[in-house]
Symmetry: D3
Subunit: 193 residues, 6 copies
């Protein structure tokens, strides 16, 4: 197994707020996604990371569905070759979209994915923020407006892309491996039920 | 669904040798992998393609296992963003390696995959043939010799990479979609038995 | 002036904690750095962003000086062509390093900058995290160990790079302009005294 | 002379069908193009390679002239920095087009070549299949339709590009050198008559 | 300090014409810009270099202002990561444009710079000449005509870009450092008066 | 024929010194290489260009042969996709090296060219100056010292590369076509005698 470059903290020694959240996730998902433990050795960073994550991924406002958001994460994490995020968020994408195929599609080539024109435009923009944010022009905004997305939605697309660009770099540099459970999640209907 | 850009031929109208092989594959796999039909509208190309494929992928000689070969296909097809080949050959890789996780790993970032040092060296070479074949030097051969691979094995790695580079370009340009069955194959032990 | 794509909130309407921090910064710096206002229209993101920032940039532990950290920000923000961060953090870099020239040097070409070999190694690593994090290898860690940096310092380098990669993408996509005051800060001894 | 990395087989020891084709080529061209011998050490690959080659390059149907096809090979092989194919197919291109200058032009920069607008569009498409096949869109097809090329012609362009991408990688990795005779062919009218 | 790779000649030993020009520059600027000395060890190259420089940068004809010309130099030198030229010509740009901010803006990301649409088009063209001159098309000329620039102005843009591409490569390879004075020039009104 | 974008001046109207040199070249070569006329519409630039050219290409000192210098020009001009310079200087390279094959070899892939190890190192360095001059390190100098080249020779390599990078950009942007005569020069022994 490739080096997990930093030791994982013991759950028992973590600050109470972090431990509580981790236990809650474990309860809901059935296991502790690796990132929760891997980052917990730095509590201040952990708290900021998940606060940021929640602000972008759990918010109720706007036109981006939860599936849209995970689609952005999966596509841009693949562009960054981040194994952890492609596998973990690909799983969540399959679940939210109730589509067993879409995660692999957007990870390999979003142009060939079976998604809506609005999602295609959304991913085109996200990929540009990911790979050439300095070259974003007003015309990139216009292209999204044409699909009924407004400037707040565009901010959401950009911010999700930017935040997971951070996450991708942390996971890749530190050698975080996705939990084996993620690979299969959402591929088989109620497989684990 | 993204455009399948060329109509699929009817199995009934295909030349006998092609139809026979297709029926044989259908028997073995349980469905007709899309490439067999999509390419059959050009029988002469079909015959050359599968003759080449078989010469490289079905040969018995050499140190590359069938899993090694599918691993090369999966990694380099991902570098070429070929949805068809990543999904279809990723499935076969999982089966040959009896490893439900390895295909996604080498597709996203072969440096993080749970593979042997010999396989890592093999993929490093394949990626260079895929992306910068003009820059191959004698030192690239030496690196593989150090893992017990000889010049015939190196030819195999290069030829598999080159052949699937052809396949990747055909699939992407023509809009071939992987059969839905491939996405799950090899992920669940005897899931469909 | 290029479009500031999103309206700035009025200081009066901001939540008390955010307003307090902004007033504190204004007091210390003499003006409100644009990012504090531009991001404040999204309070939850603002709070997460500055919590993350503070965890990385204000921490007391480790071998990275405050100058080192700003040097990482300046060099990687230039690689991302982020005007806001190059100008704002270049200013802070000049002040911490008491060096009027170093910010322009690392922004244009860190290989030509008048910095220590340890800083050169630190920036080489940061640039790799910025541009090819998936290709980070154990040898990249070894190179930094040779300069007396340990794995916690390396985490700091990577996390700062990753966090400002997020910041760069937000600033570029949203059209944030650096405050004019930043351009001159640290270039003239006690210029504003 | 740069290493020819694999020994050439003796003509006498080759299978009869391969030897017969090689002698036929020698008769027609006046020498044995290196690829015929270099690949013959692997008879099954040889047979598949030339079957594929003939299906694409010797077919009588479609709107692509033989000159068009060699032009595609020369331009895309130059993009892949394949010495063997640029020199050998550049020679054939000169002969088919009865144009001593065109091969060097498309090899260095097809945008400056003295070719028809239809050929320019054809090469633009071939270069995209060669370098970014995953990004081919319907609009790329439309651009070729505008020049009177139909979907079968487009398949031909893509397939020729894909096949010689295979050939380029084999030639570069294995160190195949073009026969010296190719360099001058088609440059002087009836030079060898 | 990074290696100045070649020794600087003594002013006393230089040919009279070169010494005269250098003294004249020293008189005007207050110091000898490093390039004047660094190149003088090769008098024939020095004379050709400054003759070329003067032909492009001191000419009176055409629509490009002196500020425009220095803006082209600054932006393209940043694309080439040339520390000497970004710092030295950024200084001159600030002075000619009477704008303390514009040099840093065009160096980091000309798309975010506070410049006119005509200057934006001028820099877009210059960047293409700098980075992909082989891909210049008639439509690139048309884009500039739309801003009132004619073919002679376009030649000026291209020639300035090409000439400083030469200068950038010399400065970077030989390790020329900008004089410290340049860093501050044009940033403070009459700072040195 | 692709657009020659700027009209050629009439020889009769050129300044006497320029006309004299052009007539001299015509006498020696048998035709007027296009660059002499194309650039002559700007006499001051013409004079600087050829003064620079002569300083680098006609100098007698140093270890670079005239063949070495033309080899640098041919290889780096191919990297810049400059049709004019590859064809014209490829011709001169063939003549100086008395080698009908070497120009095409270094233009397509200098790694496969039949050149000496010293020339290979020389071209490796030239390609780096051409494509990534900002990344030149002391180790690049050391590699050339190992082949008996000193710092003056290295300057020659870099300066020739830099100068023809200028020339490449002028030729490509302005649409200069190589004279047809260049394509065959040096390919046939005493062909024109």
């Amino acid at each position: 197994m490739p080096t997990q470059r930093y030791p994982l903290p013991s759950l028992d020694n973590l600050p109470a707020d972090i431990r509580a959240r981790i236990l809650e996730v474990q309860d809901k998902v059935g296991f502790v996604p690796h990132v929760f433990l891997a980052l917990a050795r730095r509590p201040a960073e952990w708290r900021a990371f998940f606060a940021y994550h929640d602000a972008l991924m759990l918010k109720e406002e706007g036109r981006l569905t939860k599936g849209d958001r995970e689609m952005i994460v999966t596509a841009t994490s693949a562009a960054n070759h981040c194994l952890y995020c492609v596998v973990a968020h690909g799983a969540i994408l399959r679940i939210y979209e109730k589509n067993a195929l879409v995660a692999d599609q957007v990870a390999v080539n979003h142009r060939k994915a079976d998604i809506t024109p609005r999602q295609r435009a959304m991913l085109d923009f996200a990929m540009k923020v990911c790979q050439a944010s300095h070259a974003i022009e007003d015309s990139d905004f216009t292209a999204l407006h044409a699909h009924g997305l407004d400037d707040e939605d565009i901010w959401d697309i950009a911010a999700i892309t930017a935040f997971f660009g951070l996450s991708n770099r942390m996971a890749s540099f530190a050698g975080w491996q996705p939990n084996p459970e993620f690979y299969l999640m959402g591929r088989v209907p109620k497989a684990k039920a």
